[in-house]
């Protein structure tokens, strides 16, 4: 009998690659790799790799797909605006966690606590006696020219003298693995919901790994935040009304706002839900007006009160600042914090720590050149290929120029802009961010990362959630990690070895 056999010329049998073999092909790029190269892998990563080494590439791919589906189905998306229409996208997630050891974390944590103590004292000082200016530690003109210095809140007493309740301090790791503070986010830092969701997704992907590795817990963040918000109530009542004020469904972080409100069990309100009467803030309910005690606002300073700031804003509440001044309502974070996370003021934070706390800074700043200083400016332009220029009042990866990857024309245009308005710019040497392995296109590849730990300051002290959000520059070689510029994120483990 004749059996017809069809040849399958296109079928190439692929060897069943496992994670272990992928690792052999892994080579970091020319910067500090947090895992270490193939021959000298650091202990906590070794433990992770041992656990996944038996998984095939196909299984890892499946986990990758599974993760994306988990984010999509739950609607964990942010909105990207282009051509007038918003597109909902998921924030890319890499399945391999980034690992920080307990010792490293101790260093970061104490550094952040020290920094926030100093920044809080600075804010109290700058909106009251201004000793730091009188003693010439920070030049007065630098404060006066800061667009986020808010004259209107001068002299307002805030509960417990806390200005920065919620902060995200961006940490990077340079050559030789040294940690630096890249910037302070003291206004309305976002991303904490991604930190929490990333962990939930990892729990589903690698459920056995978390407990086996002694990974510190992060999911008490909403509870901590809620208890701080409750403690700030100016009215001595049992059950103060706490609300989260969102700009609304068109804001790119709306998912996070509704996530946090749900996790804390508080009302998610918009500006139009609130009104001020007789210097008290009320929310409009079906039962009539109900007094609001604490507002966790996710609206920028200039939009919170059209009577006080931007008169065109419909996001805020007319009269809110009046109530705030009277102390009938607590606003979180305090209004006017922008003066402390201005990129030009940033350079003075080590001085603040010495001045207010009489301590040496635990975490270093990235060296920063003030473009308003003629000598420093010329130095920067002479070495432009090693520098990054940043606008002092912008974030999200906008308004910056990387000297090593820009065309001559771009540099020339930026230079003219800088010379016209030197106060608005700073320069820093380009720091080669550390890399970690990512699972991309079926192989392990090195990508640059930063870290944003979230800290909460309440009457009983400062708590930093172990880990934070690791942001990844997904494009090969790129140093820009912002989500608006093609960045992704990773779950971040603090492990005790």
């Amino acid at each position: 009998m004749l059996v017809l056999m069809r040849k399958q010329p296109f079928f190439i049998k692929r060897p069943r690659m496992t994670a272990k073999e992928l690792l052999i092909n892994y080579s970091g790029i020319s910067s500090w790799d947090e895992m270490g190269k193939a021959e000298s892998i650091r202990a906590p990563y070794q433990q992770l790799l041992d656990a996944i080494s038996s998984l095939s590439v196909e299984e890892l791919r499946q986990k990758d797909i599974q993760a994306a589906e988990l984010f999509m189905n739950q609607g964990i998306t942010f909105t990207v605006y282009s051509d007038d229409s918003g597109i909902e996208r998921i924030f890319p997630f890499d399945i391999l966690p980034r690992i920080i050891t307990g010792t490293e974390w101790h260093h970061i944590e104490s550094g952040i606590k020290q920094r926030l103590k100093a920044l809080n004292l600075f804010l109290r000082d700058i909106y009251n006696g201004q000793q730091i200016v009188k003693e010439n530690i920070i030049p007065a003109w630098l404060i006066a020219s800061c667009p986020h210095y808010v004259r209107e809140v001068h002299g307002i007493q805030v509960p417990f003298d806390i200005y920065v309740h919620i902060s995200g301090i961006d940490i990077i790791r340079g050559e030789e693995g040294k940690f630096y503070v890249l910037e302070d986010n003291l206004r309305t830092p976002s991303g904490v919901s991604y930190m929490l969701e990333n962990r939930e997704v990892t729990k589903r992907l690698f459920s056995d790994l978390l407990s086996g590795n002694n990974v510190r817990m992060i999911n008490n963040y909403p509870l901590l935040l809620h208890s701080i918000l409750l403690s700030l109530s100016p009215r001595p009542v049992n059950n103060p009304t706490v609300v989260l004020l969102t700009p609304g469904i068109y804001n790119s972080a709306y998912y996070e706002h509704s996530f946090l409100a749900r996790q804390m069990g508080i009302q998610l309100v918009e500006g139009r839900d609130l009104l001020v009467n007789n210097h008290k803030v009320y929310m409009k309910t079906t039962r009539g007006l109900e007094q609001v005690d604490v507002i966790y606002r996710r609206i920028d300073d200039e939009f919170v009160d059209p009577l006080c700031f931007n008169p065109d804003s419909v996001l805020g509440v007319p009269g809110l600042m009046g109530a705030y001044r009277k102390g009938t309502v607590a606003v979180v974070n305090a209004v006017g914090n922008g003066v402390a996370d201005d990129k030009a003021i940033y350079a003075y934070v080590p001085e603040m720590i010495r001045y207010y706390l009489n301590e040496e800074p635990i975490l270093s700043n990235v060296p920063t050149y003030q473009m308003s200083d003629a000598e420093e400016r010329e130095h920067v332009f002479a070495n432009i290929d090693k520098m990054v220029l940043k606008k002092t009042n912008q974030s999200g990866g906008y308004g910056m120029l990387m000297g090593n990857s820009s065309t001559e024309e771009e540099i020339r245009d930026f230079e003219t802009e800088v010379r016209n308005n030197p106060r608005d710019f700073i320069a820093q040497p380009i720091i080669n961010l550390s890399t970690v392995p990512c699972f991309i296109n079926g192989s392990f590849q090195a990508r640059h990362v930063d870290l944003r730990p979230y800290a909460l300051c309440g009457p009983s002290g400062i708590e930093v959630v172990p880990g934070g959000l690791t942001r990844v520059a997904l494009r090969e070689g790129s140093l820009v990690v912002n989500s608006s510029q093609g960045g992704g994120s990773k779950d971040t483990w603090v492990v005790d070895v």
Binding site: G248, S258, A261, R272, D273, K284, T285, T286, R287, G288
Partner: protein, 313 residues
């Protein structure tokens, strides 16, 4: 509950109920338009009058063209009452209160939004797959009703959602019955045969109900009785009013608004005007006058309701 949330609950369900009613009516009309009826080509005028705000001249251009009428009613972005526009609005309401509705409800609203904006649906409606596209959309509306019923907690949100649903249903029923009696000039005596009434009954999902419950051949009276007075028929005016009465009592009790008594009085008048009416009573002002009065009072009541509970801007 925040006034804005109550408002969104109310309107989410008004839009979803309107979608369901509209789709059922279009489903019936479309099937009817396939048969050549004694008066010639099927006319879309009544449907266009109920669901769009366009001028009689514009209606005249479209009324004989099934494809164009359906496009306009379902997909046209310029028609502020097209299915696409109201589903978009429903989703916006749902999004702004995602933390107050269940995950299942949100997912269904989200799904329908993606369904109506899917180019495939548009293609189906243009080709000869129209019927299955309408059926699929209608099924999803019914699914939404089922999902809300089995997952939403019975609290204030439920009461406001239900108020929206039954006020909308009552209004559509009034419009629809008005259109059908208008065609026979509100003449109750000149009895039309059941074939004439079939489209109205199918549009309200009440044909089988009619066959089972009404034996005589006084169709004009019987149909009017079923649609206005029968408390067991879920699309009758009286049934909707009974439901509104319950949920109104619930929200008034829960919130105790200052306009409580005027609100209850206003609704009481409207309700008794149906509950204690009969054909003798209707004859005094004529069916046309009676329906117009009901419509006006219902709209007035709905405005008073939003004034009491939703006025936040």
């Amino acid at each position: 509950m925040l006034s804005r949330i109550a408002d969104s609950m109310f309107w989410l369900n008004r839009y979803m109920e309107r979608s369901e009613e509209m789709l059922r009516i279009l489903h019936t009309s479309y099937i009817l338009s396939l048969d050549k009826n004694p008066t010639g080509v099927h006319n879309w005028r009544p449907v266009l009058q109920i669901f769009t705000g366009i001028t009689p001249d514009d209606i005249a251009v479209k009324e004989k063209n099934s494809v164009e009428s359906l496009q306009f009613l379902l997909l046209n972005n310029k028609n502020i009452n097209s299915l696409r526009v109201i589903l978009n609005k429903a989703r916006e309401n749902a999004r702004g209160m995602q933390d107050h509705i269940t995950k299942e409800v949100w997912e269904q609203v989200n799904h329908m939004y993606h369904l109506i904006n899917n180019p495939k649906t548009e293609k189906q409606l243009k080709s000869n797959d129209t019927l299955s596209a309408i059926e699929h959309l209608l099924k999803n509306c019914l699914l939404y009703a089922g999902i809300t019923d089995s997952t939403m907690p019975r609290g204030m949100s439920w009461s406001f959602m239900s108020l929206g649903k039954y006020i909308e249903r009552c209004l559509v029923t009034i419009e629809l019955i008005d259109k059908h009696y208008h065609t026979i000039e509100y003449d109750m005596e000149l009895t039309k045969d059941i074939l004439y009434w079939r489209s109205l009954l199918f549009s309200l999902s009440g044909y089988e109900f009619h066959l089972k419950n009404y034996r005589s051949t006084d169709y004009n009276y019987n149909v009017a009785h079923q649609i206005i007075f029968n408390p067991l028929f879920p699309h009758s005016i009286l049934y909707s009013l009974i439901r509104i009465q319950k949920y109104l009592a619930d929200v008034v009790k829960e919130n105790n608004p200052s306009e409580k008594y005027s609100l209850l009085r206003e609704f009481g008048r409207l309700h008794s005007n149906v509950e204690f009416a009969d054909f003798e009573w209707i004859k005094r002002s004529g069916l046309l006058g009676y329906l117009q009065e009901l419509r006006m009072e219902l709209i007035h009541f709905s405005k008073a309701l939003s004034h009491s509970f939703f006025s936040y801007s």
